[in-house]
Symmetry: C2
Subunit: 212 residues, 2 copies
């Protein structure tokens, strides 16, 4: 079926963004919007598209889930350090995050640098995960080619049937993104969207309005 | 309000992905999934996160809407050629697209190269847009800092009140992404997601399963 996509278009009319009413610190503002997304029953409110860059300069995007956020430390998520994103970040630790909450007609765009969190903190989070997720992280050579679904499931069952408690694999853990730029985007009628960008400048956050 | 995000976790159980049942051509498969997303009433089914890279190697992500897709030409969208993404693409035409349809527990990840479409095709699409969108594209210096919302609205009104038909600004038009890699991701229980990646190899598409 070939549908004409060019007519799929929504006018955004729910809210507006006033730079004078936004928080001084963008992470404070981000938390308000994240809470709105959760309260508004957005599907997967913590889902964000993480963009990284390969050594050849090719960008790559994938969904990861935000697990913690604060002004001191930034935006935390967990993954396999040997996955494609892990290999990208070893060579170039610049990254971007994009949150899109269509029910609220909102988007947040974040750019920053990424580093690994403390091993003890990765251990702690690993322990808090359901057993199946622990097994999955342990057995899966993330982003590598595998022969079949059956192969993966047999590895899973082998480990799942072991009685002992699993410890965190050394190649699995947390990253945190420390932002230097955060933009808040609110859809508006006639494509005249509101865009307010915070830029970290000499240790404080500069707030500016951008043309849509 | 500080919420503990680390417990926000859904188990994905809706569907599974069998590499032997997927289309030979990834764009054919993509169209099937896009139609499913539209039929499933996903909010903004054509929304995709476009990742580009700055000359300094910093990635950037933002939502754009897919306006056309086919196997010959790739994935088409429209924007201001002088926007941040436009400036990025002038220097590095590698880009990535990420579709996320949470209601279906599906994701599509695409990597490729980008080029401008023919001017006549941009003209045609510009003509098909509602008047307000035409005015918005004409007056907005996209991604540039502006003084206030009021400034933007006064530019808008000046042009909106003109009686003559608007023609496409030279700095506004379409791009198309020609893919060399497309991955289909279906969420599964216990984080054992299905991932099938197509890679363009010597002119044909190689299909492989990746570890989740």
């Amino acid at each position: 079926m070939n549908r004409d996509l060019s007519y799929i278009r929504q006018d955004f009319t729910k809210e507006e963004l006033d730079e004078n009413k936004l928080s001084q610190h963008p992470v404070t503002q981000f938390k308000l919007w994240l809470n709105d997304a959760i309260d508004n029953k957005e599907l997967e409110p913590t889902a964000m598209t993480l963009s990284t860059v390969s050594p050849k300069g090719i960008p790559s995007g994938r969904i990861v889930l935000l697990k913690k956020v604060d002004a001191e430390e930034g935006f935390r998520f967990f993954t396999n350090y040997e996955s494609k994103k892990g290999l990208h970040l070893k060579e170039n630790n610049y990254a971007a995050l994009n949150f899109f909450w269509p029910g609220l007609e909102r988007q947040v765009r974040i750019e920053g640098t990424i580093e690994k969190i403390l091993e003890a903190e990765s251990d702690e989070y690993f322990k808090s995960r359901p057993k199946d997720s622990q097994v999955g992280a342990t057995i899966s050579p993330q982003s590598q080619v595998i022969n079949s679904r059956e192969e993966l499931e047999s590895w899973f069952e082998d480990v799942q049937n072991e009685k002992k408690e699993l410890s965190r694999p050394v190649n699995w853990g947390g990253y945190t993104l420390r932002p230097f730029e955060i933009e808040f985007w609110q859809g508006r009628a006639g494509r005249l969207h509101d865009r307010i960008r915070y830029t970290l400048t000499d240790g404080s956050w500069l707030k500016e309005r951008l043309a849509p």
